[in-house]
Amino acid sequence: MNPIIVIAAASTATMARVLALIGLTILVGWFMAYGATRNGFIESVYVSAIAALESVPVITFFPVVLMVFVYRIGGPVGTELATDVLVLTAIAWNIWIAQYQALKTIPNDLLEVSRNYEFGFWKTMRRLIVPYSMPKIAANLFPSFADALFYITVSEVFTVGTKTYSTFGIGSLIAELIASGNWSLVWYAMASLAIWVVALTFFFRWFARYSVSKYGLDTAMQVRRRGRTSLRRTYQAWGSLVGPMKRLSRHFSTLARVPAIPIAERRAGWRILKRTTKYVVIGIGAFLMFVISLEIGEFIISVPGTYWLFLLGYTPLILYNLAFDYLRVFIITVISLLIAVFVGYALAVRQRVAAFVLPVVQVLSAFPAPVYFPLVFIATYRYVVHIPFGTELYVLFLGFISTFYYVFYSFWIGVQAVPNEFWEIMRNYELGYFKKLRSIVLPGTLPYLVAGLSSTIDSAWGGLMIGEYWPNIYDGKGLIVRYGLMKMLDLYTYSGNIGLAGWSSLIFAIIVVIFSISFTKALMDLARKKYVIEEGVYGV
């Protein structure tokens, strides 16, 4: 077949996979969020589960996905499902939490209208819930799309032991073309991917503007209750919107100041919806919990006691290697933060330059780093290999390009959300550059910065996973670090030692969640308590 047609088909297949998964996520999310808002218990489980899952880096799901889909189901269907589920873990949490937040913030007046005129379930869904959640969904589409592309290009082809599993798509095709040294087709494949990325990025930007202008609420109507929010996602999500940003930020901050509605009244708002639906939702949830518990129980019993001891013996080595990775993540985070603050601020105060630069950066951020990194490597490795810590430089660079955009966008959006009054005060009283930055802009954007940092830290693991063990990028040359848990995970997976990979992932996930709770969440709580700049404007 004509290779150009194959390339076009592969990139279309990848994009269709991403879009279909996003569509499925949104569809399922409406019903789950609805279920969560109807029952306090389900709500607690739902929100807590998402909060925990979103703080776990996507890559930790990899061994689990392999075990369940590749080994149990197997074949092309198993590989396809493994890819899809991995991508789903990258896109689902932020969209689901956004839909939940949307439902929790539907103005009471509108809910009363729907009750007053006896809207049924489907009419409430179609006329109220779906339209009202559109701006929040739109705001989350771009980060989900970028995340999905990053993970899809690496999950379309993976090796376990001696066997390589792949599913048709642009990620697997580019890997195949690079391996065969067919460079002209590699360029075509990347161009084909780029066309899709540019087209979809601009589509998401247009959709964000459209949904805010059509469905955005720009009044101080009383809302039922904000619900339990995911600050990280809320702030990060604004990153996809350039035009309507201020309006959405205002919308959010208006909601933040609205007093809570009593729970009894809040629940009454949903009485129009049939009681049977509640039991259906509870039933589905119970069934899923049962299946998962069964799987976990079966797995624990099937592993011999001696193997558990073997795994425990490896734990110190896992922690030792994890310390090296935390150091890398720290370096990547600090560099990302410094660039984000100084470049982000410079762009935020130069709107004309930003109007040109930001869409470009946005497209670049959606273009998956693992696809173009080999080209950077091929062009530079002759020189970098002689530099001390050359491999480390590549790994840090890969981690940086995989993750920099999150903190950059979050900070930029935070600066955009600084109320005009404060900009006027800074100019009026002739505050200097560092005074503005230190006393007003950095504290005022802290919630956004923490959100961005949290995403940056999580995504940096993905870059490290790819960069720490990439033995043959080109001509027998590649990247292998000496220490690093991500390298260990790669090695265990490639050698087919899924048990050890799973154990390492579990230890990693536990440490990451502890870090998230003790550091990120604490910082976010402080930011939310003291540094919400919109609260400084009394009369809005």
Binding site: P419, E424, I425, N428, E430, K435, S439, K530, I533, G539
Partner: protein, 252 residues
């Protein structure tokens, strides 16, 4: 320039980037210790005019002269008080005021002293360590005024400063504001107030400028000759009120 004039607004015009002219050829002078108010229909460009006077928005045409010197950049010598009451939520009252002093005074204790003095001038002695969240709207607006006064302004621009306060708080602050602003402890020489509240304007002002038309112009410049403190029940109060109303209507 008239004797004692502190600020001269000379032929100011402002046109939005879209091409719509907001106001045209606005000229007036403000004398020493003079409290001037600007009134006009909603959307006529009063707040924009304040921002153009402070150079937060550069004028399309015309100039602003402060004590004989043309203003070509935003300056704390012309300080703006916002309608929406803007204070930094992570700073105490003292820090909110000190922020405009820090760069100008090297010694931290001196900066604290100035900030404390200005808080005292606005009646917030003892509230130095409170955060905005712990203060009422009226107290927050006093902090904003103290901040402006700490910057040693010559002219204070007030954009509907009482609009977001409840009537009792607003009335309390109104009664004090004239004496707060023209306190010997401050460097202030003139005040320009924008307001929709005509009672408030008559209670406070030495002169009232009425804007009307599209693009807006100053259609009336009225001196208010009623001794202070002024009472709305005073028959002269109503006479002035009628004069202002007649300039405001019809909305052109």
């Amino acid at each position: 320039m008239q004797i004692g004039a502190v600020l001269k607004v000379d032929g100011l015009s402002y046109i939005y980037p879209s091409g719509k002219a907001v106001f045209e050829d606005i000229s007036f002078e403000v004398g020493e210790n003079e409290f001037v108010s600007i009134v006009g229909p909603s959307g006529i460009g009063k707040s924009t005019l304040l921002r153009v006077i402070s150079y937060l928005i550069p004028p399309t045409r015309g100039k602003v002269i402060l004590l004989g010197e043309e203003i070509k950049a935003p300056s704390s010598r012309i300080a703006l008080i916002h309608q929406s009451i803007a204070t930094f939520p992570w700073m105490t009252a003292l820090e909110n005021v000190r922020i405009v002093v820090d760069g100008k005074v090297k010694d931290r204790s001196k900066a604290n002293e100035i900030a404390r003095k200005m808080l005292e001038v606005v009646g917030l002695r003892g509230a130095e360590d409170l955060y905005p969240k712990e203060m009422s709207g009226g107290m927050r607006q006093r902090v904003a005024i103290a901040r402006a006064l700490a910057a040693n302004p010559i002219v204070l621009l007030m954009d509907e400063p009482f609009a977001h306060l409840d009537e009792l708080t607003a009335e309390g602050l109104r009664q004090e504001i004239y004496y707060i602003l023209f306190n010997p402890e401050t460097t202030l020489k003139a005040v320009i107030l924008v307001s929709h509240n005509l009672d408030e304007v008559l209670e406070l002002s030495d002169r009232v400028l009425v804007m009307n038309g599209s693009p807006a112009r100053v259609v009336n410049d009225l001196s208010i000759n009623i001794p202070r403190p002024r009472q709305p029940r005073d028959p002269r109060f109503n006479e002035y009120l009628d004069k202002i109303y007649s300039s405001l209507t019809p909305i052109r």
